[in-house]
């Protein structure tokens, strides 16, 4: 059982690593956003399930899984909120030749 939990936690660390690299290297706000939003949630899920497995069957591991569900729900919502805020305040998506592919018509409420 310990092997499984170690593998889970290592997978979680790997996804955190890929999210960090994506966060540092991507050229634009939106690309960084999509990297970190996905990888962090998945890394957190893997690590938390690994810890729950390590802890065996008890109330605490149930609480750890509760945190995993919480992160699973809140992280994408937070990412969406940031994106909505950025898009509305006119952050232009990056394109290779600089021309803006989509015209970001800002929807003023």
């Amino acid at each position: 059982m310990y092997i499984v939990s170690i593998l889970f936690i290592l997978a979680g660390t790997f996804f955190f690593f890929s999210g960090t690299i994506g966060f540092l290297r991507f050229p634009d706000f939106y690309t960084r956003m999509h990297a970190t939003g996905k990888c962090d949630t998945l890394g957190a899920l893997f690590s938390l399930t690994g810890m729950a497995l390590y802890n065996g069957f008890s109330l605490i591991s149930l609480k750890i899984l509760l945190i995993a569900v919480l992160v699973f729900l809140t992280s994408p919502t937070g990412t969406h909120a940031i994106l909505r805020g950025a898009f509305d305040s006119g952050v232009k998506p990056w394109t290779k030749d600089g021309k803006s592919v989509i015209d970001t018509q800002v929807r003023r409420k």
Binding site: G12, S47, I67, G78, G85, S89, G90, V91
Partner: protein, 93 residues
């Protein structure tokens, strides 16, 4: 596989995550626009959550640290929402 070796594994793992937090800190400090800094806060928040949970396993006082990380997850979410809502209305580039 005794339980003792795994403490070292958790320690190394949380140190690696701490290194990732430092890497993200670079982008938060030098990030061109305000929104990159906002993602940095969000990213560091989830990483600290996992480090907290790992610390619980290192010190073998799990129930305390799990509660702390639960509260931290909630706070991180609320901060992200509030900042995004504020920036959306204010239109800061």
């Amino acid at each position: 596989m005794g339980k003792i070796e795994l403490e070292g594994f958790f320690l190394i793992n949380s140190l690696i995550l701490g290194l990732f937090v430092l890497l993200c800190l670079y982008r938060v400090v030098f990030g061109p626009t305000l929104f990159n800094r906002l993602i940095g806060a969000n990213v560091i928040g989830t990483k600290t959550l996992i480090i907290l949970a790992l610390m619980g396993f290192i010190y073998r006082r799990i129930e305390m640290f799990i509660d702390i990380s639960l509260v931290y997850a909630l706070l991180n979410f609320i901060v992200t929402l509030a900042a995004a809502k504020y920036l959306q209305r204010k239109g800061v580039l």
